[in-house]
Symmetry: C2
């Protein structure tokens, strides 16, 4: 189906893949539904058309087949992540790798799977497991991209601003503490150290910027002016 | 758009999620395009409808917002995998977590993001980064599912058959070796040990089953009968 080819191409390019090979596409090629669904992906991806899977993968060294269900085939079965790791490893050793996706309705035939070195199965909710072709391509492309991606797993986005220095942070906390003291916040000397710790923790785990600490100084000023 | 709601619901249920909350859906609810696109997902998912994001997330403890691009907002930014890890950890401590997705065209407003504890950005090809809503939901749902999934990363699928025992494997290798010797395969005594090792390696890394070893015995029989 053209729509599936378009969705697959778009998902590939989202994650930096461009070598798309089509085996005997039902509606021929080029295909207008595919191009529409591709949202511009075919500006960068020029599919190669083959008459058989054998020809489509003949120059590759390591080929994995995606299947929705277990087959009566004796093959290693990989998760998408493990498949991506293996492909990444092979590629770093200059091997050409491929992932084969089957027809929307019937998937791959056993004959086709027997040409592949392994199988990829995407673990899903067993009660609702139908992924369409575009979704399967998306998940595999995503995992392949992740192999080369060094985006930090968590980063504090502070835009143009800069984290506050400990010195300026302490000035703020000391001022807050003084003003709280002056306004009768600490009911008992006994509990004061614990409350001071708690307040410092609220702000210190915040990874505040310079600008935010200036804003918080403004907050204190507003309250203390008001109270006078 | 109804289609997006349907694709999102389908992607959620594929990976075992069912708590879908819609804020002020453009075309109201229920929506026929959503139900068609959901391919049955709405048999299991009954969306709750809210008039504002504030109300939609009011009972949650940890909420992350998905955004396509960096904002001028000082927030931790997580990869999908790190977001899933954090959510999984919070859930195990009985916290209710949510992921907020924006409108197809404009995404979330800064006002909406400021209600969230962090941001999720999906790393993509910078030259072709547009993921649609259904794709973003799919990738996050996939990562959340993976947190609870214990599918082995690689498994040898041997169906009903059983791995061959070392004893039977050795019988096969010894028979192969004898027949090769008898047919003049080993040209020099000098190289014989290396070639024997190589042949053993070809078969031993194969994780052969009992049945496959019987098949290979048949192969030897066929050749040796033929040669006579």
């Amino acid at each position: 189906m053209g729509e599936n080819i378009g969705a697959a191409a778009r998902a590939m390019l989202n994650f930096g893949l461009s070598d798309l090979r089509l085996v005997n596409p039902r509606d021929g090629w080029p295909n207008q539904s595919a191009i529409t669904m591709g949202s511009g992906a075919f500006d960068k991806i020029e599919p190669q058309i083959f008459d058989t899977l054998e020809h489509a993968i003949s120059d590759l060294h390591f080929v994995l087949a995606t299947t929705a269900r277990a087959r009566d085939m004796i093959k290693p079965v990989y998760t998408p992540k493990a498949a991506a790791e293996n492909i990444h490893t092979q590629q770093r050793r200059d091997q050409k790798c491929g992932i084969v996706f089957g027809r929307e309705r019937n998937g791959l035939e056993n004959q086709e799977i027997s040409r592949c070195q392994g199988i990829i199965q995407i673990p899903t909710n067993p009660d609702f497991s139908s992924l369409n072709l575009g979704q399967s391509v998306l998940l595999l492309a995503y995992e392949l991209f992740a192999q080369n991606d060094d985006t930090p797993s968590r980063i504090m986005d502070q835009g143009d601003s800069f984290p506050v220095s400990q010195e300026k942070f302490n000035e703020f906390i000391d001022r807050l503490d003084d003003e709280l003291d002056r306004h009768g916040f600490y009911k008992t000397e006994n509990l004061k150290p614990t409350m001071q710790l708690n307040i410092r923790n609220i702000f210190s785990r915040n990874e505040l910027t310079d600008q935010e600490v200036r804003t918080l100084h403004g907050v204190i000023s507003a309250f203390t002016k008001h109270k006078k």
